[in-house]
């Protein structure tokens, strides 16, 4: 049946194309007004979930153990706000040094020099292969590990021997511990970004006589940013929460350490956990919003997967043109 019908249909379409297109422009079939498909289970599940959430919230608001009055008392306590600032400082500094070191490690891993490559690989192997908590405990013990430093030829002759008496501040150890661990992850993120840029870009730069530094700084890195930025944003948010592990050093001036200390003196652990959580949530929310805008900024230009970019620009020009015309007439 269908075999015999199909060629007929094709013939008809081929012989009368002009009639068909004319019909499209002049007539329009009646708009479909069908009875919408109902989704009873979808609605039931939604109602049940809303009720459960409401119950939980009402219950939490009244439950003694949460001690909301203490939460309210301590949320803007000077000690807590100072601790929040320290958590923020730890995050910023650890990420800053982590990104710089990660960039160096990524370039080392892509270097033609096998020794640099091997060293970078070994660094990543150690720092990604052990828990950050364990690393922080090590950093806390660093003054015990390196009590003395010898200058000379190993196992043969010692010219000088230094005893290290200086104890680095715990805040600094926390930053170093977090930054070194972070750099191992940032190195992989940066490497993936650099490798995502088409080698043809570098070739075009070389053919134009641009130096390696210009090629990287002007062409490769800006395009790698599109791939590097989103996971880096995730790393910042993750770092903010990882700072709570600095108790391992042991450093306790950060948000979690400080609220724990307070709770120990007033025997109220739960409300101070809530205080810390509220601050962490506030910071991560701000960071998430920031991430959204930074990603938008670096997505400009070459995104082939979104041809709408071109449409938007053309549309914007069109709108601007209309605006000027109207203004002229007015």
């Amino acid at each position: 049946m269908s075999d015999t019908q199909r060629p007929e249909g094709a013939d008809a379409a081929a012989s009368t194309p002009s009639v068909d297109t004319a019909a499209v422009h002049t007539e329009r079939a009646e708009t479909i007004r069908a009875v919408r498909l109902r989704h009873p289970w979808r609605n039931t599940v939604a109602v049940v979930l809303i009720l459960l959430v409401l119950l939980f919230v009402l219950d939490a608001a009244q439950r003694e153990a949460f001690q909301w009055d203490i939460v309210g008392k301590y949320i803007f306590d000077t000690r807590v706000t100072q601790a929040a600032f320290i958590t923020l400082a730890l995050t910023v500094l650890a990420m800053l040094f982590g990104i710089i070191l990660g960039l160096i490690l990524a370039v080392m891993r892509l270097s033609p020099n096998p020794v640099l490559k091997w060293i970078a690989w070994a660094f990543l192997w150690v720092f990604r292969g052990t828990p950050v908590y364990v690393q922080l405990v090590f950093w806390g013990l660093v003054t015990l590990i390196y009590k003395t430093v010898y200058v000379g030829i190993p196992f043969v002759h010692t010219w000088a021997e230094f005893t290290i008496t200086w104890t680095p501040p715990l805040f600094m150890l926390a930053v170093i511990g977090l930054a070194l661990n972070e750099s191992a992850y940032m190195a992989e993120i940066v490497r993936a970004g650099l490798l995502s840029v088409d080698p043809g870009q570098e070739e075009a730069c070389t053919a134009l006589g641009m130096s390696w530094g210009q090629t990287m700084g002007r062409v490769v890195v800006p395009q790698a940013m599109r791939v590097i930025i989103p996971p880096t944003g995730n790393e910042v948010i993750s770092m903010l929460k990882t700072t709570s592990l600095v108790v391992a050093i042991p450093y306790s001036m950060d948000l979690f350490g400080r609220t724990s200390d307070i709770s120990a003196t007033i025997f109220a652990p739960i409300p101070l956990l809530i205080v810390a959580s509220i601050w962490y949530l506030f910071f991560t929310s701000v960071l998430m919003a920031g991430q959204y805008f930074v990603e938008k900024r670096f997505a400009r230009g070459s995104d082939r997967s979104r041809p709408a970019v071109g449409g938007v620009v053309v549309g914007a020009e069109g709108v601007a043109g209309v605006g000027i015309d109207v203004g002229g007439k007015g």
Binding site: D198, E203, A204, L208, G209, M210, Q214, G301
Partner: protein, 258 residues
């Protein structure tokens, strides 16, 4: 040092190049004179693109000598020894040689105008204002005066390739290399790129063009070279080579493409 005007723009003497054990260029010798347009044709894998990339030292040659405008590419010859050039010296040689790629390789995060302005500013130290004026002039020359603010992804393949040509011209090259400039284009876009190239040839630019466009080779080319298996099989006047090939391999190739 002044270079006599009869110095060939490109002179290859017994140039060989291998990738591992695969020898892709086998003792290529040829010369391109000033103002000449040489078209290089041949089946894929014949070594024609590799040869083009050897001219501006994007690929290192293994044997022979390659001169551009009388200057040995990539090396300094002292006595009977060759010294490899530093990257900065090799870059100085390349800046006078424009190159156009099969896949355009435009900088995706820059607008058409920024693409054209980039190298003059960074490499030649041109001011932003001069580079922009010259950039607009060149974009107008390739028929894209209205697309200066567009990003590459907003342009058609033919428009992108014309921006790429303008970008190469912005460095005021004495030689232009084209590596299959129309092979990645939709058929209806090939003509606009060839028109720009034809105009460029008429203006006296020395050009080496690796292409599959036999019509362009015949009309615009001063010479055509047929390469196969890493050797120059046949070369000479385009009409001669394309209409009356002497070698069996040339005949076999042309019968497939014409």
């Amino acid at each position: 040092m002044t270079v006599a005007t009869d110095t060939p723009m490109v002179e290859a003497k017994m140039v060989s190049k291998s990738f591992g054990s695969n020898e892709v260029l086998k003792s290529i010798s040829l010369r391109v004179d000033r103002g000449q347009v040489m078209c290089v044709i041949g089946p894929s894998g014949s070594g024609k693109s590799t040869f083009l990339r050897c001219i501006n030292h994007l690929e290192r040659i293994d044997a022979g000598r390659l001169y551009v405008d009388g200057e040995l590419m990539g090396y300094r010859e002292k006595g009977d020894k060759l010294y490899e050039l530093k990257p900065a010296e090799a870059n100085r040689q390349r800046r006078d040689i424009g190159m156009v790629f099969q896949h355009f390789n435009l900088f995706g995060h820059m607008t058409a105008l920024e693409n054209v302005m980039e190298a003059p500013i960074r490499v030649k130290g041109a001011t932003k204002k001069d580079a922009a004026a010259r950039g607009r002039e060149l974009l107008a020359r390739v028929g894209l005066a209205n697309q200066a603010g567009h990003y590459p992804a907003q342009l058609s393949g033919g428009q992108q390739q014309r921006v790429a040509i303008a970008r190469a011209l912005a460095m005021d090259p004495k030689l232009m290399l084209f590596d299959e400039p129309t092979s990645a284009l939709d058929p209806e876009l090939v003509g606009e790129v060839l028109d720009v190239m034809r105009e460029l040839a008429e203006s006296g630019m020395t050009m080496v063009v690796v292409t599959h466009e036999m019509g362009f080779a015949r009309e615009v080319g001063d010479a055509v070279v047929f390469m196969d298996g890493g050797v120059v099989v046949e070369s000479g006047d385009p009409h001669e080579v394309l209409t009356n090939p002497q070698h069996q391999r040339t005949k076999a190739f042309l019968s497939k493409v014409l």
